[in-house]
Structure formats: C-alpha cells, structure tokens
C-alpha cells in the first residue's frame, strides 16, 4: 500500500465527511435537490468585508504580500486583543493572540503545543467530525463524553472520565451539530470540576473552546465568557462564520493571560503554527479582518431561516431543541437515522445522519442556505415524517 495505514482507515471511515465541505454527489437525476448537509454558508459576506477587501487591495502598499510575522501582524493581533479585553475585562495583549488558518488551524496548533504522546483530550458527543483527527494528529488520545439529552454538559459524566492523563477538555460553543449554547452556569460547573481535578492531579487541565459560531446566536442568548470563568483556557476562533468567508482560512488562537507559564505557551503556539506548515495566516486577510472585529453577517438572515424551518418541523411533529446558536438543527430521527436520511434523500432532501456526529437517532440540518431551498423542502419533510408516524 502506498499510503499510511491510519490515513487509509480515516479516508474510508470518513468519506461521508467530505460531503460536509463540498458537494460531490451526482444530483442530476433528481430534479430539485435540497441539500442541507453542508456547513458552507450561502449568505454573502457583509458589505463591510467586501468594501474593506477592495480598499486594502486598491491601496496596496509595498511588502503587503511578504511573510507576515509567524503569529500574525501586530496590528491585527492588537485589534483582536482589544476586542477580547473589552468583552472579558481581562488583560489580553497582542502576545496572547496567534493568527491562524481558521479555527481548525487554531485547534491544531493548540493540540500540537500542549500534548505529549498519549495524553488525553475529552470531547463531548455529539461533536464535529474532525475533532478526533485533530487530537490524533498530535499524538493525543481522544476520550468521548456523552452530553445530556438537551446537549448540555453533564458534570458527573464528565467527572468520571477525567484521569491523571487528561490534558484538556474541548468544548464547542455554540455547538455544532446540536445548536446548543452552554450557559455560564454550565461552564462554571465545568470550571469548578477542572479546578478540583487539576489540584488533585497536580497539573492544570486546559479548557479549550471552539467558538467558530460565536457570532451566530439567537433570541438574545449570550455566549458565556469562558476566559473570565476559568484561567486555563484557549479560544479557537474564526472569521469564517462571522463574515461568511470560510474559504479564506482566517481565524485565531487566544491564550488566556491567566495561564501559568503563559510565555512558554505562546512560544509553543507560534512554534506549532510554524512547524505544522501553516507558517502564518494569509497576509491579505489578516489586513482585512483587522478592521472588522465587530462586523458580522446580518443575524436576522439566519434567524428568519431558523424560524421558518423550526416552525414547520414543529408543525410536522418533529422533536428537537430549537437551536440557540449556529445554523444547524438537530432533530430526533423518527426511526434509525441512516434509514431516515435515506428516506429524506428519496424526496431530494439531503441531511447528515446523527451517527456522523457520534449521536445515533438524530439528524443534522444545515440551514445556511437560500430561503427558497428551505421552503421547497418543507413538504418533503412532512411526507417522510408522516410515513414514520405510525411506527412511533
């Protein structure tokens, strides 16, 4: 075999995941395909982004495409640090921010920086498909902990899985695929647990928060500020969803100023960004997002889509928690999730079965699509639900 055995297994195990990023399916045979599998937003970036990009490109300056500092332009990191300080009241400075190739790049440099071979990282199911790979990339061992039925964090279940070998807990808030947003109380309980276990085992356990969907919350739900709640935190953030520019690969890792050995941690993150081959985040986008810390897509666009979808699904009798954040709905599947998604596919409706996120019996709808697509799909959702009503 020409390729790595582990990679071979991965390719086979997650071939479906490719379709979460790009649609390669042959859909020509069905007239109207409604594809809700992809977390790839069809909403255009805000005018602020487009205008800033044009301005940066028009007013080009010498050296603007050269290597940037490994951690990113000082001006860019300053802008991020200012925004995080304002939100948290904590002394985030330039040095605490490393610009990265999106939140996925941020997570990879964080794991590279902190993990020794065989150390454990806990993730919460259901979870984003890529997390176990990110942990394995850097020699870590992934431990999966189930969440409650409403996808909040169960402190007892989590406590039972923490060992002397646990290096970090990774959370995703707002959560893909469930749409849940953990409350401050839920995070505080996690923090207390981690403090207690850190003390018990004599080593700080990190709390890493993937906040890729930070700017997408509904009904005035606010994201708890993890940095204020627990000192040993990393944030993996991205402009992908905030500005609807996931193709441009721009985000950052933020290390809490309260982390012990913070200087070494920052050096390790920068080193990881370098040796993993990223070197730095793309220069042009660093310049653009410097000016866009508080700019985001119009959330009412997503709110409207969420409401149309949720109201209809409710009417049809689907059971689900209305998402507080993200652009995903994660309803219970009226039957086996693989069977059910196949039934939906017969109606030209494509969704991801819950097992893809390690929670069988559910399915994920990504509603970051054109409103017409949602409207077109609704009767199909109704018909398939009705087919399984008798079986319930």
């Amino acid at each position: 075999m020409s390729i790595s055995r582990k990679v071979e297994e991965g390719v086979i195990a997650s071939s479906w995941a490719v379709r979460m990023f790009e649609d390669q399916s042959k859909t020509s045979q069905v007239k109207e395909i409604c594809d809700f599998r992809l977390g790839n937003p069809e909403i255009e970036p805000p005018a602020g982004f487009t205008e800033t990009l044009k301005a940066v490109v028009q007013n080009s300056s010498p050296g603007m495409h050269r290597y940037t500092p490994l951690a990113g332009y000082t001006e860019t990191r300053e802008a991020v640090a200012r925004a995080l300080s304002k939100e948290s009241g904590l002394p985030f400075h330039t040095k605490h921010i490393i610009m990265t190739a999106g939140a996925t790049g941020a997570l990879n440099i964080i794991f590279k920086a902190i993990l020794n071979p065989g150390e454990e990282v806990i993730i919460l199911a259901p979870h984003f498909v890529e997390y176990p790979y990110y942990i394995d990339n850097h020699g870590g061992v992934c431990t999966v902990v189930e969440t409650n039925s409403d996808f909040t964090i169960n402190i007892d279940t989590l406590a039972a899985k923490i060992t002397p070998n646990t290096r970090a807990i990774l959370i995703n808030n707002p959560n893909n695929p469930s749409g849940q947003v953990y409350t401050g109380e839920n995070i505080k309980a996690v923090a207390e647990l981690l403090s207690e276990k850190s003390q018990k085992f004599g080593r700080d356990i990190f709390l890493i928060s993937d906040e890729a969907y930070k700017f997408i919350t509904y009904d005035n739900v606010t994201l708890p500020n993890i940095s204020k709640i627990y000192p040993n935190t990393f944030i993996a953030a991205s402009y992908s969803k905030q500005l609807s520019i996931p193709g441009e690969r721009i985000g950052y890792a933020a290390a809490n100023p309260g982390i012990k050995d913070i200087h070494e941690v920052i050096e390790a993150l920068t080193f990881a960004n370098r040796i993993l081959g990223y070197l730095s985040a793309p220069a042009l986008m660093q310049r653009v997002i410097t000016h866009l810390q508080e700019t985001s897509i119009d959330i009412t666009e997503y709110t409207e889509r969420r409401n149309i979808f949720c109201n209809a699904l409710e009417d049809f009798g689907y059971s689900f928690t209305r998402p507080k954040g993200t652009y995903y709905i994660f309803p219970k599947s009226p039957t086996d999730d693989l069977v059910f998604t196949q039934e939906l596919a017969k109606e030209g409706i494509l969704v991801n079965p819950g097992r893809n996120f390690r929670r069988k019996g559910y399915f994920r709808i990504a509603f970051c699509v054109k409103k017409e697509t949602i409207e077109k799909s609704l009767q199909g959702f109704k018909r398939v639900k009705d087919r399984f009503r008798s079986a319930e």
Copy 2:
C-alpha cells in the same frame, strides 16, 4: 510544564529560525543594519499578480469566499495540471493536484499521507531547517545524508542510508541554502538507485521534490523534470517565490500520474489537507493564481543582485559556488561559522551560520533584498574577511 516536551525542545533548539521568517532583533543601536538572514523577498509581486488580484476583487461573484473543494477549485487545479503536463508531457490531470498553504503545507500533507509511524525519510544536508519537524509531525524518522562539497547528491552516501524502512527521499531543487540546482544526470542516478532499492525491498520509495524556488534559476540553467525521470514522485510547489507573495500561503502538491495506487494516494492527500486543519488553500488566492501559471517575478532583478554580490565576494577572496538558483549564497566561512557571523554582526551585517542548515563552516546570505542594502554591506564583508585572512 504547560507545554509539550517535544515542542519545548523545538522552541529552544530553533529559536534562531524564527529570525529566518521575521526580524525580531533589536537593531536600533547600530546605525545601518544590513539584514541578509531572511528569505522574505523585498521584490514586489509582478504587475500581472497585482492586476489579477484587483480584477478578481473588483468583479466579485456570489460565493467566492465560501469553502472551496478540499483539494481546491477545479479550474485552479486544471490550470496547474495543464502547466505540468506541458512541461513534462505526462498526463497530469486535475485530480493529481491538491492546492495547499504553500510548499510547506504541501510537504506536510504528503508526509501525513504516506508515513506510518517510524518510517524513514531521507533529507540532504545542508537543508532547510524545517524539514525534520515536518517529518516528525507525522510520526516519521528523519535521516540526514551529507551532499558533496559542491552540494550535489552523492549516490554512494545516499545508497548507504537507504533501509527497508525508507519511505521517501526529500530533495529541494533549486536548493536552499546552497543555491545548487541538481542536474538531470544527478536526479537520474538517484532515480536508478531508488528503483533498485524499491525492487530489493519490495516497496516503492518515493522521491519528493520541494520546488519552491523553481522559477528562480540563473544562467539558463533549467530544472530537470523529476516527474519524467521517476514515476514515484511528489512535487511540493509554491507561488511564494514565483510571485513574491509568501505571506499569502498558496501552493500545491502534485502527485505523479505514474504512482501505483494513485487514486488512494490522491484521496490520502486530500484527507490530510482536511484533517491537518488547513481544510483547503485560501479561496481568493486560488482564483488569482489560476491565471498566473507562467507569470513570475523579473528574474533579472535577482540576477543583478546575485552578480553584484558574487563579484564582490569573489574579489574579497570568499570561497563559494555561484548559486545556479534561489536567492541564497552559501560561502565557506573563513573561520568557525558562529564566530564569523558574530564578526559580521559587529559590522551591522546579519547572516545565518551554516550550522543552522546542518553544515558547519559555511554561512548563508539571502540576497532577496534591496540593491542598496547589498551595496552598503560590501565593505563590511571585505573588512571582516581581511581580518581572518592571516588565520587561513
């Protein structure tokens, strides 16, 4: 300790390497610093790049900042494949090309795709400082083989280091730091050796060529086409030097159509690009470089700098091979390379000691700087050389 032990060692061992990418030294005390440490080109991108970038941004189209396919836009990969087919006469198609975050991203996905834990990759000294990290990132073991005194590949030395566990040989052509360009004959001898060893050990040994400096060759020297010479090849390429845009992180990995199991290999590369957190190369730059396959910086700019520098160094009595490619000169150090670079520093001249590239007794000059900087430095190079003349 809060960070990974291996990363901690790496940070300490290679803190100097940071200065190859970004100048963090405090230089205010010396009036005129001539910094030749950085491979970060001061030559501006060609007009073709700037115009194409402006045009792409001005004529924005819906969805242009969404996730691209994991391997890159089809149109972009087609353009690369066409260029490679034209050069090689081989059937490179879209599928053989994966767009990456520069050549550094390409090397990382290649190693991730092919290496099982403990498998060996041979690199040739002197070498780019990052290679051992890239190999280690993915569980490989790095074996260093010395090159000849003129930095060409010594087939016997190489042959002696190939084991049943050797998965690949990595070459860098044109070579950083030596400026050498391997000839077709040299590469053919490597290919014959690899064919023989592959047959002996019953498994194909890959030849990986980092061609980041492909477009920077002098005196009508042409780069041998590795793909034509040996079927089991990967090319790691970049637009960083070709277009003087290293900050934008755009390049590609090309898999030779003649590789056995080519379909699996391509899937593995795409999977690696995804799970290493790159996901894909930046969307905007993919669009831009699609149209710039044959555009490059004006090589006469570098030729002029090389000639000024080499003529002067020759006059001063430095011993070196005039570079056939890249923007580096790698002269013999008249004394211990660390001592000598410190003496140069006293004159305000900053260069890298050869030991940083695992070849003591040499030093590296990066001449991708303003012509004035070179001219200003020359008398300093003369003075320091004269100081060590008696010692020779």
